[in-house]
């Protein structure tokens, strides 16, 4: 069953065609990696999937809902209810503790629950660091808080933008282990990455070039050449 369907998606900024005729389905529980060189349209695609931007053409169906025609308010609601975002720069609120950063996501979604937020931190191995401010945490720890925040509202789709881009090897390993764990539990994950090692962990890798899908590989096996 498809959780996400991109149908003939294009995004045009003035004369620049950032994305052209993208067709892509992501199944429930699938782990998909999106790769490509700079300027290939990865970020644009991620913003459209993450409901932070709208396509110029085509439609995006997320969990059975066409979000491509939604207004700002509608997109905000979809982001809040269905998507868990993980950023390369972590983007934690610097004046709130690790625990409070997670509770912020609960606050905007429904009701803050300290116990549940603490469990989320425990899941990423940071229960002992709950009362620490982001400035008191390492990059890897901040990313784990960011992951815990993304998971706290049980999103349909976890969308990660270069989640290991700012981490050392050890922390990259920890984050990937968490992703594997999430995937094994049935979470749907879309990861945008430059790193082939991160992409290899996914079930499928979509490679973008010049705003088009160049190819899609499945468990290191090229399943479809694409010249769109």
């Amino acid at each position: 069953m498809n959780l996400l369907e991109l149908k003939d998606i294009s995004k045009i900024y003035g004369n620049v065609k950032a994305l052209q005729n993208i067709n892509l389905n992501v199944q429930q529980g699938e782990w998909l990696a999106i790769m490509g060189p700079s300027g290939s349209g990865k970020t644009t695609l991620m913003n459209i999937i993450g409901c932070m931007d709208r396509p110029s053409n085509g439609s995006v169906i997320l969990d059975g809902q066409d979000i491509s025609k939604e207004g700002q308010k509608g997109l905000t609601t979809v982001r809040r209810d269905k998507i868990g975002l993980i950023f390369q720069q972590f983007h934690l609120v610097n004046y709130l503790t690790a625990l409070e950063n997670i509770m912020v996501a609960q606050y905007y979604h429904s009701m803050p629950d300290e116990k549940e937020a603490l469990q989320a931190l425990e899941r990423v191995g940071l229960k002992e660091r709950a009362k620490h401010l982001p400035s008191q945490l390492s990059g890897g720890e901040q990313q784990r808080v960011c992951i815990a925040r993304a998971l706290i509202n049980y999103p349909k789709l976890i969308l990660a933008d270069e989640p290991t881009g700012n981490l050392d090897e050890a922390n990259e390993g920890i984050v990937l282990e968490i992703f594997k764990q999430l995937h094994s539990e049935g979470s749907t994950i879309v990861v945008v990455t430059h790193d082939p090692e991160v992409a290899e962990e996914a079930q499928r890798t979509v490679v973008l070039e010049h705003g088009r899908i160049a190819r899609i590989t499945d468990n290191n096996k090229e399943i479809r050449g694409c010249d769109l």
Partner: protein
């Protein structure tokens, strides 16, 4: 944790854990509130301060007998002065005038309450001393020059009293009066002394009153006395009350203008500071939007911080503003200022409104930003 508790936590954490930034904003609000509350205090206290200054220039209200009456009795005067607020009475000096002769030359003697005269006419320049005993008098400079009298000299006053009998009384010159006005042609003695030589009492020709009040308030008192004490015709000393009102009006207008300009400058200063504070938090706003925050939630959070800052700055402003006004008043008027309780809500409301508005404009603009753009740092 309830949503309200989390909201409060977010607002207070932002203020406490970003204290260096917030202190700058708080300082801007507090300085604005201080100057505003200080100037308003001075604005409202000017009439009181200047009123006291003007009281140095003599009586601003006089009582004269009405109609066929030629004198005023003590009971009538007491009834009339009952209409003055006791705190506003600076001095009330009754005068009785009689002609006496010194060396066969006629002079006007004024019997009065010399202690009250000292309060009503503090501008009198006395050479020598104010009379302290019976038989001691003040004589005008003009009289002293005519009959060559100095402080410490004695003289004999002669004349005819109310019963047509001749009198002759010795007096000692206690001091000379110089005013540059009509007073220099008078001999001033205590009312009992004059009543003693005239052989009758309870007859006052005029009462000079010095009341600390605006022209309008004095007008109200005049009306009340006129209606309730028919034996007395109260009159405002127009040259004093009108010039007082004119100077006060101009001074208040000046302070009002300065207050408005300072208020505008404060608004600009606070707005600029708050805009800088909000602008540097664009990423945070973008993040919150990405997490699913509605624009309203973000506005409420920043507004909460703004209101807290405005309230805190307002409280500081009330305290510091009063101290500022006190220093100004001590240096300019040489008097302490009275605290205006109404200033607390005014300063708080103005501070909160200005800070709220200053936050609202940049926050509203910041909520229009696409989270994707802000979070990428573009």
């Amino acid at each position: 944790m309830k949503k309200q508790a989390m909201y409060f936590k977010m607002v207070t954490s932002s203020l406490i854990r970003r204290r260096s930034r917030m202190l700058v904003a708080l300082l801007a609000v507090a300085i604005g509130a201080t100057i505003l509350s200080g100037l308003i205090t001075i604005y409202y206290d000017i009439p009181r301060q200047m009123g006291k200054e003007f009281r140095s220039y003599g009586a601003n209200l006089i009582f004269v007998p009405s109609g066929d009456q030629s004198t005023l009795s003590a009971s009538t005067i007491k009834k009339a002065t009952g209409f003055f607020p006791s705190n506003n009475i600076v001095g009330i000096a009754p005068y009785r005038y009689e002609t006496v002769k010194l060396n066969e030359q006629p002079f006007m003697a004024a019997g009065t309450d010399l202690k009250e005269v000292k309060k009503v006419s503090p501008y009198w320049y006395i050479t020598g001393q104010w009379p302290a005993n019976n038989g001691a008098v003040l004589i005008g400079k003009e009289v002293a020059d005519l009959i060559h009298l100095s402080p410490g000299d004695t003289f004999t006053a002669t004349g005819t009293n109310g019963a047509g009998e001749k009198f002759s009384h010795d007096f000692t010159v206690s001091g000379l009066v110089q005013t540059g006005g009509a007073e220099e042609a008078f001999i001033f003695m205590s009312l009992p002394d004059l009543e003693g030589i005239m052989g009758d009492s309870d007859q006052v020709d005029v009462v000079e009153c010095s009341i600390a009040a605006s022209e309008a308030a004095l007008g109200g008192m005049v009306k009340q006395i006129g209606e309730n004490v028919p034996e007395i015709t109260p009159r405002l000393v127009k040259r004093v009350t009108q010039s007082e009102q004119t100077v006060l009006g101009k001074l208040q207008a000046l302070v009002y203008l300065v207050t408005v300009i300072v208020l505008l400058l404060t608004m600009i200063c606070v707005s600029t500071t708050m805009m800088a504070v909000v602008t540097e938090r664009r990423k945070e706003i973008g993040l919150k939007k990405a997490l699913g925050a509605a624009n309203k939630s973000i506005i409420m959070e920043f507004l909460g911080e703004g209101l807290f800052l405005g309230g805190s700055g307002g409280v500081l402003g009330v305290i510091l503003g009063f101290l500022f006004a006190q220093v100004v008043s001590q240096n300019v008027f040489s008097r302490s200022i009275s605290f205006q309780p109404l200033l607390i809500p005014i300063t708080l409301v103005v501070s909160i409104c200005i800070t709220g508005l200053a936050c609202l404009i940049p926050v509203r603009r910041a909520t229009d930003i696409e989270p994707a753009i802000v979070l990428r740092g573009e």
